[in-house]
Amino acid sequence: MKISTQTQQKIAFTLLGIASTVVIVPVIVIFAILIQKGLPAINWQFLTAMPRSGMRAGGIFPAIMGTLYLVSGTILVALPLGVLAAIYLVEYARRNLLSRMIEVAIVNLAGVPSVVYGLFGMGLFVIYLKMGVSIIAGALTLAIMTLPVIITSSKEALQSVPRSFREASLALGVSKWQTIRCVVLPNALPGILTGTILGISRAAGETAPILFTVAAFYLPRLPKSIFDQCMALPYHLYVLSTQVPNVSPKIQYGTALVLVGMVFLLNLVAILVRAHVRSRKQW
């Protein structure tokens, strides 16, 4: 019995639609579960107090602050490094073996497993450079991990600036670097920003790289220097869900909600910035 091609198409398209729904449904379900079970735990005290009675009560303030410290450190290192590397690739490099190697290197850095970054960070920063288990070791490890994301999106942003802009500037006698600094970069900034925000959201959520380089189970006070350890949200969630007995699920889900909330917020901002830029583009 031959099904007409039109019917075949209808069946196929329906199946594809179902598949797409299956893909999106977990996002909604996870968010719904987190809100339903975690929201009761969220109040001002939860967000600003230190944990008490073995983490079963009190708040997650030090974990939030720790994540913020790590993220700041990460951008501080990865942003300039990444943007300058992207500038090199777009503005200065010629199409030769070297630039191919750099591109291959970027793809590889993007694909290295997060736990291998943790091993590397431990080997280089904690042990060899004697930084010890510290914020700076963790931030540097996360920075190298975030680098590919920033470079790739900065590259795209720079490439999307029309050549005519550069040529006009050079024709007016402006030097190459000044052209980049005053003409190309400002126009590419929104794209760079998007990539940075996405990179940050990934760094904020990673556990494996910070396991051996910075994470602490319990600190009585906030870290005082970059050579101290710090707590962090993803590690805190891991600890709460596997190592502390009899933690009320409310606190576990609350921590997960704060982490996911932070990450989702960052992503939303990036998406909005990107949409805004696309609509405003004059070229």
């Binding site: 008490r52 009675s53 073995g54 983490m55 700041s72 501080l76 300039p80 010890g132 288990v133 600094r181 005053c182 970069l185 400002p186 900034l189 994470a215 602490a216 189970f217 319990y218 600190l219 009585p220 006070r221 005082k224 220097s225 970059i226 050579f227 101290d228 350890q229 600890v239 869900s241 596997t242 190592q243 502390v244 007995p245 009899n246």
Partner: protein
């Protein structure tokens, strides 16, 4: 262009803040405590209470397993290693090589309860049977008098002192260097809480957990070292008077004789107040005979 300059300013300010906070960290040393996941909550409870009494003290507690703590002690990255097992000869050697004079302190006792699902009809097991089950020689519950079901064996992972203690004292029946190993099919769960959760959910499981983690969700078994008994169930009393055979000392290791704040902390831990905290955390205090 303005954006770039603004960025440089922010960059510089943040950099100064970081450097400044580092300089401000002059006074105030933190006591680093690392090690056993079994003890990590106990360590934190002690730390909280100690800091409440001594506001200028600062203690940081991290888990990761007894092995982690001892490794950190040898590497010089912590002041006190919490351990739920003895240091191995290899570790003593490495400590000596690193120039440390390691001191061992017993600070509490932990009873390890063997747990099964509440619907399991088995009430007691001998060490021989336990060893057979955990090494994989005994694979079905009906071999020890239970239902006809394949036994699902749960354990902590290798970084856990609990894992090592159980290996040496139950699987190997006290012979530390014995050949017995956990069966390859043993599930190695990342935490004791995970073991409790799995045992509560699955009928054919067996696992071991610290007494403090036992909850009504699971059923504990009475055990006996010899094949005739007596079979004793896990409880604080039985651990304290040494009738329960799977009770192990919980230890603090320091890299040298304790001084200053580390010494004060140790004295607190061994004091009545400290031992009272041991009881509240569902461990077993040292009792009159240490």
């Amino acid at each position: 262009m303005k954006n770039l300059r603004g960025y440089f300013v922010i960059f510089a300010v943040l950099g100064l803040l970081c450097a400044g906070s580092f300089l401000l960290n002059a006074a105030g040393e933190t006591i680093q405590i690392k090690g056993s996941d079994t003890m990590v909550n106990l360590g934190q409870a002690w730390a909280e209470e100690f800091m409440a009494e001594n506001p200028q003290a600062s203690l940081a507690v991290t888990g990761g397993g007894s092995g982690t703590g001892i490794a950190a002690l040898i590497n010089g990255t912590c002041d006190i290693a919490e351990a739920s097992r003895d240091m191995k000869p290899q570790e003593w050697d490495q400590a000596k090589k690193a120039g440390h004079y390691v001191q061992e302190f017993k600070v509490a006792v932990d009873a390890l309860a063997v747990v099964v699902h509440p619907s399991n009809p088995i009430k007691q097991l001998t060490f021989d049977q336990l060893s057979g089950i955990f090494t994989g020689k005994i694979t079905n519950w009906n071999e020890v008098g239970g239902k006809d079901q394949k036994i699902l064996v749960l354990s902590r992972d290798r970084n856990s002192g609990t894992h090592v203690y159980f290996l040496e004292h139950v699987l190997r029946k006290g012979n530390e260097k014995g050949p017995e190993q956990y069966a390859p099919a043993t599930l190695m769960l990342p935490s004791t809480q995970a073991i409790i959760d799995e045992v509560a959910q699955s009928e054919s499981t067996i696992g071991y957990v610290g007494l403090g983690y036992v909850s009504p969700k699971v059923k504990t078994l009475a055990v006996s070292k010899t094949n005739d008994g007596p079979f004793v169930g896990p409880s604080k009393a039985a651990a304290m008077d040494k009738t329960y055979p799977i009770a192990r000392p919980l230890l603090f290791y320091t890299a040298r004789a304790p001084q200053g704040s580390v010494k004060a902390f140790l004295e607190f831990v061994l004091s009545e107040k400290g031992q009272g905290i041991v009881e509240t955390m569902d461990f077993v205090p040292l009792g009159d005979k240490a």
